[in-house]
Assembly symmetry: C2
Homo-oligomer: 317 residues x 2
């Protein structure tokens, strides 16, 4: 899994940072890209990455402020031009369907693929064989949501060499061992699945939050996350201003990561008052509370890999 | 006057060309910028020019297809952040007001300046001391308009040296001569205004058309234009396809310029099938009918100056 920041600025684009969007690439063989938020010119930023528009299979919107959603009509429309673009799922707050319908109607737009729109309700909003996504409300000036993506645990790989050395014959017994079942061999001996398979590979957890002040649901969204993406619009000593605008500071983002037991924190949604030369300072602030804090930047890609595990193969090579 | 192309591609952005927009800079001391169309990421393109967001005082939309209008909500919103941003006039087809209201309502947007929206009717849609703008309907798949900007004629400069040599005393008589009136001097002699002033400076005409097939109103919009901007989505031999999509070819754009007696033609709105290496060929096609044909390209600025006249001072130096 790989998270690519497409825009990391608050409110309006600057020369350094576009408005908010990020893409989560699900590893091979799936190689889907899921977008989180879609500020203006997200499709332009995507052209600067290897991510294929046709592989974007879901878009999750945190809230309907323009800097998180103004790029949606253009991106959805352009996707029609891409060969192989199948159905696309769109998740977002109540109102997103009416918003899109109004824009598409006024601009005579239509899509050449199926768009499946889901307006959010608390809890699991999406699930398939490999992933589930939960959404919970945050606290902002307008209804705003955070997402928790959970990769399901996968059975560890079968050690075929070891199975053979234990006398397991080729055939269905091997498959049962691989799928976690213990078996009795034709000669009467008993072989445990755990004897011939690596431990289960724990699924990864990625938590991507929209704009928010510190609030109770963050711990639930970010619990044990391998990667937490949390806004940090303002520097640490501006908590009062942050609260007035419904935002968080670097220190509040770090405290949220610490409280939730997240493994790594990426901050984003920086106010345009901050320039490249300010970033070290902002990160240092966060690290006083949470050492594994980092700053997102446009077009930065972050691999989400657990310690000691193989990195995923690449989707876009 | 200077025209800056911000996006010259059709339908969707490519690495070479953004979707449609251009900015017309009115010369000093006014230094206003007028935008024509506002595809997605027009505000991003503006950041790559010296044009100041606060100096954008009018936006003229040709039609409501997304590639001409999806950048409008973001640009209008971002303009609120710019100190000194006064009222802004927005012109566009019927429906533009409802479109903006729907988007601003869904995205909780508000502006810190006055937005004056005018839905188009045929004829003069704007006039002040120095300029007038007319709009006439074109022929496209959806209602679409062309604009004709006319700079008013200005009296020629007074030649003070010559007036003194003819015995005109300092004072009100000089002012009358400058304003085009002939005068009788205290000693009884008669002096004509044309004796002591340069000829009237003819105002320039710039004609900017939206998407269209060849149609009757183009000649009226582009008559004697110093600069005509005409779409050329397709190459010369694709007239049938162009017609099916409501567009024009290079040859049709050139023929329109020729028929209207325009001085110079800039083509824009090129299909994304055309790359940089195709441009010479497309321009050469147009020049078979109209030698003063050129291709617009993103961020190209074109000065509109009449032969023998001083270029305007710069607004953005």
């Amino acid at each position: 899994m790989e998270l690519t920041f497409l825009g990391t600025g608050a409110g309006r684009p600057s020369r350094q940072r576009n408005v908010t969007s990020m893409a989560l690439t699900l590893p091979p063989p799936r190689c889907s890209a899921w977008l989180f938020d879609c500020g203006e010119a997200t499709q332009h930023q995507l052209m600067r990455t290897p991510i294929k528009m046709s592989r974007i299979e879901a878009v999750f919107i945190t809230h309907l402020h323009g800097d998180h959603v103004n790029g949606l009509p253009g991106l959805l429309s352009s996707r029609s031009y891409h060969p192989g673009a199948g159905p696309l799922r769109l998740f977002g707050p109540a109102g997103i369907k009416a918003y899109l319908e109004a824009v598409f109607s006024a601009t005579y737009s239509h899509l050449d693929y199926e768009l499946i729109v889901t307006e959010l309700a608390e809890g699991v909003i999406y699930e398939d064989d490999d992933y589930s996504v939960e959404a919970y409300p945050l606290q902002h000036r307008v209804p705003c949501w955070g997402y928790r993506v959970t990769e399901k645990d996968r059975p560890g790989a079968l050690d075929a060499e070891k199975a053979r050395s234990l006398g397991v014959p080729f055939g269905p017994l091997l498959g049962q061992l691989k799928n976690g079942r213990d078996v009795r061999l034709p000669d009467g001996r008993f072989v445990r699945s755990t004897d011939v398979t690596a431990p289960d590979r724990k699924g990864r957890i990625i938590s991507i939050l929209g704009d928010t002040v510190p609030c109770g649901t963050i711990a639930r969204l970010a619990a044990d996350a391998d990667l937490l993406v949390h806004e940090a619009t303002f520097q640490g000593d501006m908590a009062e201003k942050a609260a007035a605008y419904g935002h968080s500071t670097t220190l509040q983002a770090a405290e949220a990561a610490r409280m939730a037991g997240a493994k790594r924190l990426y901050m984003t949604h920086f106010s345009s008052r901050y320039r490249e030369e300010d970033m070290d300072r902002l990160v240092a602030e966060a690290r006083t509370l949470f050492p594994e804090a980092y700053a997102g930047s446009d077009l930065l890609s972050v691999a989400v890999t657990r310690p000691g595990e193989q990195p995923d193969g690449s989707c876009w090579a």
